[in-house]
Structure formats: C-alpha cells, structure tokens
Symmetry: C2
Subunit: 345 residues, 2 copies
Amino acid sequence: MDITVAVDAMGGDHGTHVTVPAALRFLDDHPDVNVVLVGLPDAIEAELKARRRQSGPRLRVHAATEVVSMDESPQSALKNKKNSSMRVAINLVKSGEAHACVSAGNTGALMATARFVLKTIRGIERPAIAKMLPTRSGGETCVLDLGANVDCTPEHLLQFAIMGSALFSAVKHKAQPSVGLLNVGEEEMKGNGLVKESGELLRASQLNFVGNVEGDDLFSGAVDVVACDGFSGNVALKSSEGLAKMLSDFLREEFVRNWWSKLLAGLAYPVLRRFKKRVDPRRYNGASLLGLNGIVVKSHGGADRMAFYWALKQAVEEARAGVAQRIADQVQQQLAVAGSPAEAG
Amino acid sequence: MDITVAVDAMGGDHGTHVTVPAALRFLDDHPDVNVVLVGLPDAIEAELKARRRQSGPRLRVHAATEVVSMDESPQSALKNKKNSSMRVAINLVKSGEAHACVSAGNTGALMATARFVLKTIRGIERPAIAKMLPTRSGGETCVLDLGANVDCTPEHLLQFAIMGSALFSAVKHKAQPSVGLLNVGEEEMKGNGLVKESGELLRASQLNFVGNVEGDDLFSGAVDVVACDGFSGNVALKSSEGLAKMLSDFLREEFVRNWWSKLLAGLAYPVLRRFKKRVDPRRYNGASLLGLNGIVVKSHGGADRMAFYWALKQAVEEARAGVAQRIADQVQQQLAVAGSPAEAG
C-alpha cells in the first residue's frame, strides 16, 4: 500500500532547509511513499528550486499561511494559528488525505493541536509521547510517556502501557510484548503511591506485565515496553542524553590530547565511526504521539536532515502497521476486560 | 585534625574482602585518618592476617555480633539486629568515637538505622541521599534526593536544596552554590504540581536559586546543586548508568570486531584507559545520607576495593568540612527566614 505523509515543512529550528531535503531524499529511497509538503509555498518552492526538484504526483505542495513558532504557547497556536503548517498537516491526516504527519515544531503546540483536531481514541484520557530506545541486547525498548503528562493517575499509566504494547507489537511484529513499570526498585512494595497503584492495575490487566523495572532497564533490553509518568520519563531520557554528551566530549578530548592520540584517532576512525553511527541519536529521532485518531510523529526541533529522515521513517512504519487502529482495538479489548469505562473516551 | 572513620566491615556483596583491604590502602595513603573496622572479629582478623597486617593505634577492630543482609527489610534490621556491624558503626558516630561512618550495606536498612540512631537535624523532616556527579565542564554537581524519599512535598524539596547547597559549599569551598530544580522544561510554568510549588518556595528562599533545569543538566555543569524528588532522582541516576553501560559495551564490541580493530585497541590502550579512568563510576562511589546528626556515607553494594576507597574518601572529606554541623546551621538560618517551623525537626 502506498503511504502518504504530510510534512509540516515550516516546523523545527531550521524549517524548510531541513524538512524539504530530508523529504526529497526519503522519496528517492522509498518509491511507495508520497509526501505532501505543508507550509508557505514560496519558502518550499525556493528550497525545491535550489535542489532542482519540483512537485509532481508523489510530491505535492499544500499551502498554509501561518507558522507556529518554537516558543509559542499551545493556547496561542490553537487559537491564533488555524492555518498554520502544523495544523494543516494534521488536518490532512484527519481528512484521510495523509496516513501520517511529521512535525519538528514545538511539542506543546503539536500535542494540543493534534489532540484538538484528531481527538483521542475512545478509552484514552491522555495521549502520550513514546519513543523507541536502543538497548544493550541490540533490540529496542518503547518508553512512554516522555513528557506529555507530568501529573498522572494509575489509569493513565495503564493506558500508556496498553498503547506502548500495541505500538511495539505492530512495528516489531511481536504478539505479546513484555511490559515493565518504571520504579526505584524491582520489589512490588517499592515505589511511590502512583507506581504501587499502577502496578496493581497492570497485574490485573491482560498485558504481558513482568513487573517493576529500574532506570537502567531502559537500555538493558529487559522488557519491550516501559510505562512511566511523563515527568520521570522525560527526566530519564534527558539525563541519559546529558550523560551521552559528556562521554562523547570526554572521548573526543582524549583522542585529541596529543599527536600520538590524534594519529590513533585517525587510524581508528572506521572503528570510532561505526561506534558513533550505532549510537547516533539521529537514528532514534521521531517520537510518536500515541492515543490519537491518527498518526503524528514529532521530530526533535533541532533535527538535521538525517534526523528528520528517521522521523519520516518512523511515521511511515507506523502508517504501514496501522498503529492508530491497532491501539484503538487494543484499548477497547483491554479496557473492556479491565472493567474501565471504555465509553468515556 | 585527625579523622576517625567507622567502617561497617560486613556490608556489601563482598563484605570484609572488599572493606578491609580498601581501609588498609586508605590508611596507607592518609596518615591523618584512623579507621575502626566494625564487624565479626574472626572475619576481620582473618582478612587482616591474610594481608599480614594487624590492628594498632590507627586501626581498631570493634566487635559486632550480627550482620544485616543485603535484602533484609529496614524494619527487620532495626528490630532484630541491634548488634549489627551497621548499627554499631553508626553508634560510634553517635557517641563521638568516629567522625563518620561508611557502609556498603543495604540502603533501606542503613537509612532507617542511621535515622533511628542519629535522628534528623532539627528542621529536616526527611534525610536525603546525595551524590556528586561529574560534569562536562570538568566540575561536579551535587544531586539529591536519589531515592530515599519517593513521595515528596515542596517543603522536602526546599530542605533538600538547603542540604545540597550546604554540602557543596562545605566540600567544594564555594560560598553560594547555584541551585537548580529538576524539571521537564526551563520555563516556570512547566512541570508537575510538586515542582511548581517547590519553585515558589525556592524563589522565596535565601538560596542562590537559578530556576528549573532539565535532566541533561545533571551532567552539564549548569548548576552546582540539583534538587529533585527521590523517584525522579533515582530514575535519572539509574537510566544514565544504564546508558553508560550500553555505550561501553558498544565501544568494546567495535574494538574487538576484527584483527585490525583489535590491533588499534591495543595501540589506543593508553587513550582508552585515560577515558575509562575519567568516567569510571567507582570514582563517584559514595552517596551521602544528609540531614542526620552525623555523617553517614553509603557505598554501592557491589563496590570493589577501589570503589569502596572512594566512599571512604567522601566520608573523610565530609568529616573534615564538618558537613553535618554546616547543614544544621544552614537549615536553622534558611528555614527561620523562610518562616518554616524549624522547631518541628
């Protein structure tokens, strides 16, 4: 099936300079994908022209007259930017003209707009931000929520677990992904009030819940899905990023310390490059906004072309696997069993 | 001033096999430090004998008849192990026979026992676990709480900030350490309820509060002290450890991939070793239990000799700087100003 992706061409720190070339490259690599570039037509056309490309059946330009700025409040974006590239791209998902949309625009505005336009899936109170993280065992672990919901109830965490499980199962083709609950220890008695109550709900659910996991399990491959509140999830993700930056700085410093280490760095370049490629955070760009009636992928705001390319990839994979529908099905099935009010959505 | 450290010789995964040699090495390196080894005399003497050493004026053996096991509940340790090596070592701090104590025993039991024996400083409701983490800028950042308190109030976070600030100031000789509040964004409006209210208290305090920081700032050197609830703090620390393990695995894998990369690894050994040494987590072993009337340092349970050595170093530094008293002074001064009930301690 051909997949059409709507791209918020104006979003992110670099706007069309990143989104347009990334989309062009993606089109070249994926013959069964179509792209709709949404934004200010002049800016998009200028970027296309600079690359000697033009729109055609697989690459459409869709005009939007406004741009949501990176520090704009969600309220302002919702109220004042009804014809923004972000909103129009999401509208295309709503109308069925696109199977998914990708934006590097500001997270708060994107979440608010997506939620307003697409609405949440029946049974889901709060959409969540999910991301696949690489693991030591060579696989990936889906972690959510990563910051959309900083105050959560146990019901929210159950819903996150169901959504993450459906996403993992759809994209990684695994029937019953294992689910862990992020905690400060593995024992059931550990944790704060939220985690203890969430554990009870998860144990009573139909999910393949294996119990509590700790922060280091985000990267150990111990479980397929880790559910957590958006505050801890965000802190975990960002502190890991901070540590990775520090280690990378230190490694570089050691290799440029003197002529001998510089020579070694030159000789070891292929080895170091393979290492760098393997842990390149750009390859993990693309967080999924789950729980909506449609597929929305958020790229990092500072993404370069390669990083934005990977966000497009994430969106296409989700569209191909019909993630939104699979989540809806899972939610109906699981929450009906758990006795929650699935009608409340 | 000579410093005397009481060592829970039985604590940790390896007991006397780690604690005794680490203490001996520490004594050799620090002529103005005395050590009291607390534990089962037979086990300690056997270890000393194996190393052809004996007790003397700087190295005393203090008998304890029981050992708190690594998975023992705090309640059980408190109730049933009144003559444990852990408890007796803490008693020595209480009685003034030691300036500080170090244990690699289980955290819950250590915290409960230390709190029971030493009591909390007047004005502090809950002791916290603090640790110095290395930063990209080459300095260190003190982060607390790292897991002692998983359900916190804004008042707790203010108290953590005061304690962390006093510790940093005492050990790093900086008059007004900068304090950040761990959050999911830098803007004041961001965060969960706890963080927003804590931010108000911190802004009203006499601390050098610079505002919200994010997870990556734990390693950026942006602030000297980061205050957070024990749940997020623990998650941040452990997820960073998990990522570090993954990166280290991947780097090793790339260097053993083929004969050429193995050769390079051999040649680059001094460079890689310097890097490894710089980020060696053993050098950051030793978490401080703050808010007690006495100095207690917790070593990682799995610590080896070198790691335990660093925990001893942390304890001695704190004792030399009179950290417990300085925290008490700061708490009285700051909380009296903030209008909190300093008498409630």
